[in-house]
């Protein structure tokens, strides 16, 4: 435990604003959603995570005080635009950020906060320890399978390698397992395809092969970072179905990172909306889509042309563009683009809003009063979506 506090001191001051206390209480509130599991610790818990990158232009605060929790067998969708910190968060969980060797020498990520995987705090662990977890306990599906796989080795070789590291089996058994996995993810003729190179696969097949690789050691936590963004819509549907089926089969927890609210609505149990490295809103998929509480979430929903309805009005676009992560606006990072920031007398410009519950299991970081929020949602936003 001492090492934890030491490390935290050495890295960054935490809880400067947006106090840890409030966040944890909001998290506790989340846990209380299901009364039967008040005492259970969540499978994955991220507390006040900060990932900062020192650059020549200044400190890039990619993730700045993020907390969330995920239960076993559940899917958490993390939604946000480019630069919101979603991928940086997933790399932090996987322990894939380059840490500075010492304070001044090599630039790298400065991490602080806590990441618990079944109570095991990962940020304080050695890279070797975390490496042992990768593959077996947690695995990741990347957006672009062509650059995530090694072009010099066959697909089979890459699956076999990962499997043999974590399982004491001979090559023959590992190969059989690789063929099995390829068949499971729906690759035709797996016993022949196992010897193919990544470039011999189509985009959808490569993504399947990467899913096979990620699932080959039956990980408890699967992080899928934009798993279908590079794919056509019919292939996307196949891959989403595959992730859903495999999750049920293996009872894995899934963190699904995407910018596509449609994908989230299809797959996620809970949704976290990120903006400028912070959580704006967090709740069940039902709450987020049917009773969204944050103006940014409203903006995201209003920006999406609807596939399932005839067009009615113009899109409710959000004005402006996302902020630079070097100069994140003070107060609420969304206030320069928020149509309702003026409603609370400058509070949004000065004070960073904390995550507060709006209903059980649904938390939001916004200064709008409850009456204002409900009124705006009901009269101005909901009718136009």
């Amino acid at each position: 435990m001492q090492t934890v506090s030491n490390l935290r001191e050495r890295r960054l001051p935490t809880g400067s604003e947006g106090g840890v206390g409030m966040t944890t209480s909001a998290l506790r509130d989340l846990a209380n959603r299901h009364p039967d599991r008040v005492d259970k610790q969540p499978f994955l818990e991220v507390v006040d995570l900060r990932v900062h990158f020192p650059t020549d232009d200044g400190l890039v605060k990619s993730v700045d005080g993020l907390s969330f929790a995920l239960d076993r067998g559940k899917t958490l969708g993390i939604v946000g635009e480019s630069g919101s910190g979603k991928s940086v968060t997933s790399l932090a969980i996987m322990g894939l950020h380059t840490r500075p060797a010492s304070e001044q020498t090599r630039p790298g990520a400065q991490l602080s906060g806590e990441i618990y995987l079944e109570g095991d705090e990962l940020l304080a662990k050695t890279p070797e320890y975390v490496r042992g977890l990768r593959g077996k306990r947690m695995a990741m599906i990347f957006q672009d399978p062509l650059s995530a796989m090694n072009p010099y080795y066959t697909v089979g070789h890459q699956i076999i390698e990962a499997y043999q590291i974590h399982n004491p089996v001979n090559k023959k058994a590992a190969r059989k397992h690789a063929i099995d996995m390829l068949g499971r993810v729906g690759i035709p003729e797996p016993s022949r395809r196992v010897d193919a190179y990544p470039h011999q696969f189509s985009g959808g097949m490569r993504q399947r092969a990467m899913i096979a690789m990620a699932l080959s050691c039956d990980p408890d936590l699967l992080i899928a970072d934009e798993p279908t963004t590079a794919l056509d819509v019919t292939v996307q549907a196949q891959i989403l179905d595959l992730i859903r089926d495999l999750q049920r089969e293996f009872n894995s927890s899934v963190v699904l990172i995407t910018h596509d609210l449609g994908v989230v609505a299809e797959l996620a149990d809970d949704v976290l909306v990120m903006y400028a490295g912070r959580a704006m809103e967090y709740g069940s998929a039902d709450q987020l889509f049917n009773r969204p509480a944050h103006p940014y979430t409203w903006g995201l929903l209003g920006s999406m042309p609807r596939f399932d309805r005839a067009r009615s009005e113009r899109l409710l676009a959000i004005t402006g563009s996302p902020p630079s992560l070097i100069n994140v606006p003070p107060g609420c990072p969304f206030h320069p683009r928020c149509a309702y920031a003026a409603r609370n007398g400058g509070l949004s410009e000065e004070v960073r809003p904390e995550l507060v519950p709006v209903e059980p299991g649904h938390i939001v970081a916004c200064h709008l009063s409850e009456t204002d929020r409900e009124q705006i949602w009901e009269h101005e936003i909901a009718p136009k979506l």
Binding site: T234, Q236, D260, M304, P305, L316, P322
Partner: protein, 348 residues
């Protein structure tokens, strides 16, 4: 300018005629191999498509990667020369015009590109980029190039003062606006937009879609939009063509197509779109297509979709279904269309 002499007095007949029309358009890219670079095959990117686009209409082409939609865009703008078939712009055959005769027409047909990063020269300031069309066409706009460029920047929602800035100083959405300003410089009649918003974030995407809509109104534009995002297409389009492996399989008014798609491929495509509505998660029926799109080098014979179609029968493997108007303004190329009240097509 090569615009017809009677342009100022447009008759109603001319208003109704197509601004651009394609007939039997084919583009095959030869594959060469061996020492003598002999042609051993061809990528049949676009393989016989017909459609017309009316003035002030937004016509969209959707399809998955490799279906030939981007090739079609490049044929319409004559960045590519068709292998065969005919492209008529304002009644004039432009299919095989050489660069010289084509140049004046380039004022009328402009293109918006997908990637706002690679489509702007990083070494040129915005003023030079947006003013390039004037320079190339040798046009001096009233009030001078600088003023014209600043007006264009204002029209697309950028600060005219940013005339001297470089592309890297702008965000992705702003760059796309710069590209659009350049497109508008010569007051084109037709804009072909190849995936105009797919590289942008959701919130920025909405801004650009709204902008395209305003500009259509303001500048009397006709759009041909190439996109893979079916939600975006429904939002922007008057009419939509669905392409599969170089062919148009269905063409109809947007609301008809989305309300009651008839080609099984369109049905499958639509059922695959994730919808941001949790309440409908369970009740939606999804048609999963098996396998991948076949290679356009050797597409399946007859109906190109028969290898993945759940309704395919013998006739689909032997006889190619023509694109016919099964319902008013609703064209489908299928032997066994869905949502069709009448007899199966092959029995009529």
């Amino acid at each position: 300018m090569t615009a017809p002499a009677d342009e100022p007095t447009t008759t109603t007949a001319e208003q109704d005629s197509d601004l651009i029309n394609v007939e039997g358009l084919i583009k095959h890219f030869p594959i060469r191999a061996g020492l003598l670079r002999r042609q051993v095959g061809a990528v049949q990117a676009v393989d016989g498509i017909d459609f017309g686009v009316k003035r002030r209409e937004t016509f969209s082409i959707v399809g998955e990667s490799g279906c030939g939609k981007s090739t079609t865009a490049r044929l319409l703008t004559r960045l590519l020369e068709p292998t065969s078939g005919k492209i008529t712009f304002e009644g004039r055959d432009i299919s095989h015009l050489k660069d010289g005769p084509m140049r004046p027409l380039r004022r009328d047909i402009q293109m918006i590109f997908q990637d706002p990063y690679s489509s702007l020269n990083p070494r040129h300031p915005v003023g030079k980029i947006v003013g390039a069309p004037f320079r190339i066409q040798g046009v001096t706009p009233p009030g001078g190039v600088k003023k014209a460029v600043q007006d264009l920047l204002a029209a697309v929602g950028l600060n005219p003062e940013h005339y001297n800035r470089y592309p890297h100083e702008f965000s992705g959405g702003q760059r796309q606006r710069i590209g659009i300003a350049r497109t508008l410089a010569l007051r084109p009649r037709l804009i072909v937009a190849d995936e105009p918003v797919s590289a942008l974030d959701v919130s920025i995407q909405a801004q650009v879609l709204n902008l395209l809509e305003d500009l259509q109104e303001e500048f009397d534009l006709t759009y041909v939009i190439i996109a893979h995002d079916l939600s975006v297409v429904r939002y922007v389009s008057d009419r939509v063509a669905v392409m599969y492996l170089g062919k148009i399989v269905e063409l109809a008014d947007a609301e008809m197509l989305y309300g009651a798609p008839m080609h099984p491929y369109t049905v499958a495509l639509m059922s695959a779109v994730p919808v941001p509505d949790t309440r409908r998660r369970e009740e939606r029926e999804r048609i999963l297509l098996s396998g991948d799109v076949p290679s356009p080098i050797s597409p399946p014979p007859a109906c190109r979709f028969h290898t993945r179609c759940w309704k395919a029968q013998e006739i689909c493997r032997t006889e190619e279904p023509p694109l016919v108007e099964l319902l008013p303004r609703h064209h489908v190329a299928c032997h066994f269309p869905e949502n069709y009240p009448g007899e199966p097509a092959q029995e009529r």
